[in-house]
Subunit: 358 residues, 2 copies
Amino acid sequence: MRGVNRDDCIELVEQRLIRFFTESKLRSAALDPSYLQLWEALERVSRGGSRSRPRLVLMAYAGLGGNAATEAASLATAFELLHTALLVHDDVIDRDLVRRGSPNVAGAYRKHALRKGMNSAEAGHIGASVALLAGDLALAGAYQLLRSLHVSDSVHRALHAVLDQAIFASVGGELLDIEFSADRTMPSIERILSTARYKTAVYTFEAPLQAAAIFAGATEEVRLALERFGHHAGIAYQITDDILGVFGDPSLTGKSTISDLREGKRTILLCHAATKPEWLLVENLVGSTGLTISDAEKIRAVLIKCGSKDFATDLALQHARAACELLDVDGIPSLLREQLSALLYKAITRVKMETSAA
Amino acid sequence: MRGVNRDDCIELVEQRLIRFFTESKLRSAALDPSYLQLWEALERVSRGGSRSRPRLVLMAYAGLGGNAATEAASLATAFELLHTALLVHDDVIDRDLVRRGSPNVAGAYRKHALRKGMNSAEAGHIGASVALLAGDLALAGAYQLLRSLHVSDSVHRALHAVLDQAIFASVGGELLDIEFSADRTMPSIERILSTARYKTAVYTFEAPLQAAAIFAGATEEVRLALERFGHHAGIAYQITDDILGVFGDPSLTGKSTISDLREGKRTILLCHAATKPEWLLVENLVGSTGLTISDAEKIRAVLIKCGSKDFATDLALQHARAACELLDVDGIPSLLREQLSALLYKAITRVKMETSAA
């Protein structure tokens, strides 16, 4: 795959997704027309994603000298379907009805039920129930894509273990997230970081990189180095995301800078601030459903004044630096090192580019 | 495994389940103590089941001459975990909080949240969210058990396809069930039967039997015959279940004979009755939340008078007979034929033994 245009490879992922959904739609249509509709809804949700996990798989696989482009695309697509499954179930847990500007599975089925004359609570439950099923289908799809690979038994076992660990960690992270939301006390910074790692970093960075290393036949040392890079990169990325969720420029990030504060989301920023005396000034505002734009401004001022923004920014940089140092291993070609470092640098420096002057 | 005591084999399934949960609890405890609690809750839910799917796997595998008892137990356990996953997610969809007399995952976490001072709606949502995650874990567990088998690549692919098809069909059946509940019109008898097949029969009968055949190295003819037996047996079983859900003796079945009627569950009984003039007498009672014991008596009388009970009983017998005839294939030893027929006969004749005189 070296020398092959990476855009061609991501195109192979799109094709593999189309093939997976086409086959599934044919199977479902044979069962019942309404099942076909569910598959169409799931396919719509999977459209328009950034494909960042498949891209990472392909970058690492090609960078390690792998050249089975079509098979690599199938492996990469397994991670995209895992992402879809986790997104769809996460939306049920967060009671979100919209994803990327359109109704998600729950939102679409809720609308449909409302149109049939059901009340809002019943329609919401139908939407959530169907989304639960859709997530199960996407999860089974990830296993199916992995099983479609033409690899040796031992490689399949190793890839399966990576997928299994990604699901295990993501579910654990999601559970901790739910526990935080049910708890009034602020978790420790360590707990916030490990939750972010489990919920997102493992399946977004560590697992795709490990899978690419296994599929490329890399040494155990390389696989481990990439896993550790993924670990620190994932944490750096999550912290950056949290900073942008409060200080970002919505016109650049596409994300509200109020909803995290309104929800009282347990981020590194709030966790750090909660240990400072200034926190008392805004404690009651954070997590209040009636939070206004000027309340948010007040909280931001406190987060800057008590050093929480700087603390989080530094911490993200530290993890990014640690991540890049871990790539300094025989067997990881310098081109791949540069690509991964550049990817991470770009992700981290979003803070500078995408924050409004504060 | 021929000659091996079948009780010993089901004991191997219990041991395999204990091993799976022990390993998972160790993994989860390393992540966070609260994750361990979730695994403990999932293990509690899996306790005390009838293990009917593992039993079917073991019966068919031993009957076809298979003798790798420990491995067969792992395969059988995969189907038990699939069952757990589907149960836990089904409970979320049905908003059930109790399973086998104890709080299920959703019920236990709801209680816990209420004790923390949350209101009922929020606590219910937390319970449902955690149960969603628990079901995902059990689903991943089924794949993990299957992957733990020491089988050739092609056997693993074939078993994986059976598991995949079981999930695909169950989710489709569950979706149709949700659609029925959202619809005021009565579905056709064919649609009721195929929904029952997809939702329950495939993963309860067809898939375990097919998996056993594949694992035992049986011919394609045998695999197909067992699949078809499972198809008809599953439908016969489901119809029997529906009859017992209305006419059974709760002290023998352990099931209420009112909740199906109160819920207005789309069964073959109601579907048949809805085409008869007597239906108008009870149409408004079926599915009413305030349904009384005497209302239920009135509905039962109508179901008997318009021949719905007889129709359903006959249909179950027809499918049972068709199922047993399909076993008449070279390669299915007569002992296995007898065992499977006896199993089915016992399931079907529950109607006679477990109905109150009506």
